[in-house]
Symmetry: C2
Subunit: 244 residues, 2 copies
């Protein structure tokens, strides 16, 4: 059973009239009387389907669903803009793994030109992927992808912990910075995790990020692809903070 | 700089005459005098390129390269056969994250028919992906994909720890089995990690796996896709055993 995020007024009215109606009716092959989860970015309810078609599903709320599906820290992923569709994988799996926010970050070695005309449609697509992954993974909130930024435009103030995933640290055998940072996390902390694009992080960028309070960290001894690094970072934060 | 895995006799002779010659010459645009890493499944050497073309690269070994890039435990991933190309992603990223072996496992809810004719070419492709990912991530060994098996054909004896990634555990709020298993790992342990296909694991399969010593574990409170679960399992084993 997956959660469908819907707007407040439609939640009150008990209707789903977006693409989700098609998903419920045709993809999931739901029937009248089946249960679904509905909600907004703060609450989740168990509901029963009262009628359905590809364009309109009506439901009745049975009860509020409690349970905590959100990380106890707010993790923003600053992903050095990678090639091809990798950013979509990062957003999809990163959402499952509990990230709160993604900022696609254009860095020196990003092979990507920001075409202002295409920015809005790209952001729309990224946010759609985040919504679908949030629904599928039982998230209470949908992580946001508010903007695509150049590294130097970003304001890194306000983060309690700043982790720079850095492959040169791995090559040099550094093996304690990441664990020290994760072990020290406290509930409610705002965490920035920055990962370079495929070509890595330019020396001048490392220097700049260190001046902003980032700690270069190796994520184990092997060299991870850019899209694999955030899986490692998010999984281990969950392991440290969510498992007993 | 990435490692090229080559056969013993060619390592001695100092030649690379496989697809890797094309990779070194045309993809990496290496030049005479550039350094590369070469080796077999036990050793890695720093070498200097002496001549190159798309079909033949010759090199001279400079020195043996030490450093430990392998997990201190042997992890076999039993991946419930998923749809589409997901298995390739599991092998690619799982190799970066330190897995030793992958057994694509046909389970009740796998939407996959094993066509005997295609098995050999599938295994060839999977092993090629593992080799490339091992080279890119500095692995000393190439993980193997020895066979595609039906669940009931597999012999699970000989594993010290058997982890069943189970989404029903996550839904029920179980949050301690996985961490307990990982915390108890000892250097040299053989670990089996089993993950169901997209549709999940059938109740009868859960029962069967429990009878074989598997412990059902939630990987955090969110529901992970089948391909995301192994990223979580491998990352956290690395975090626990490889980071200080």
């Amino acid at each position: 059973m997956q959660k469908y995020f819907i707007e407040q007024d439609k939640l009150k009215a008990g209707i789903i009239d977006t693409d989700d109606a098609f998903h419920i009716t045709t993809v999931m092959r739901s029937k009248i009387g089946d249960q679904i989860l509905v909600g907004d970015n703060s609450k989740t309810y168990l509901a029963e389907i009262k009628s359905l078609s590809n364009t309109l599903v009506t439901f009745e709320i049975i009860e509020e669903r409690t349970g905590n599906y959100e990380m106890p820290v707010f993790v923003t992923i600053f992903q050095g803009y990678p090639k091809g569709d990798k950013l979509e994988d990062v957003i999809k799996h990163g959402t499952e793994l509990g990230a709160s926010e993604f900022i696609p970050t254009i860095m020196k070695r990003s092979v990507f030109k920001l075409e202002p005309k295409k920015k809005a449609s790209k952001l729309e697509r990224f946010n759609k992927i985040a919504k679908e992954a949030a629904e599928q993974s039982f998230r209470t909130i949908i992580p946001s992808v508010p903007d695509i930024k150049y590294l130097k435009e970003i304001n890194f103030d306000g983060y309690d912990v700043k982790i720079l995933c850095y492959e040169e640290s791995a090559k040099q055998g550094e093996a304690s910075n990441f664990k020290a940072a994760v072990k020290n996390l406290k509930k409610g902390d705002k965490v920035a995790v920055l990962i370079g694009p495929e070509g890595g992080i330019d020396d001048s960028e490392v220097e700049y990020l260190e001046s902003k309070g980032f700690v270069p960290c190796a994520l184990g001894p092997r060299i991870l692809r850019t899209e694999t690094a955030i899986f490692y970072a998010l999984s281990t934060i969950s392991y440290e903070m969510e498992l007993k």
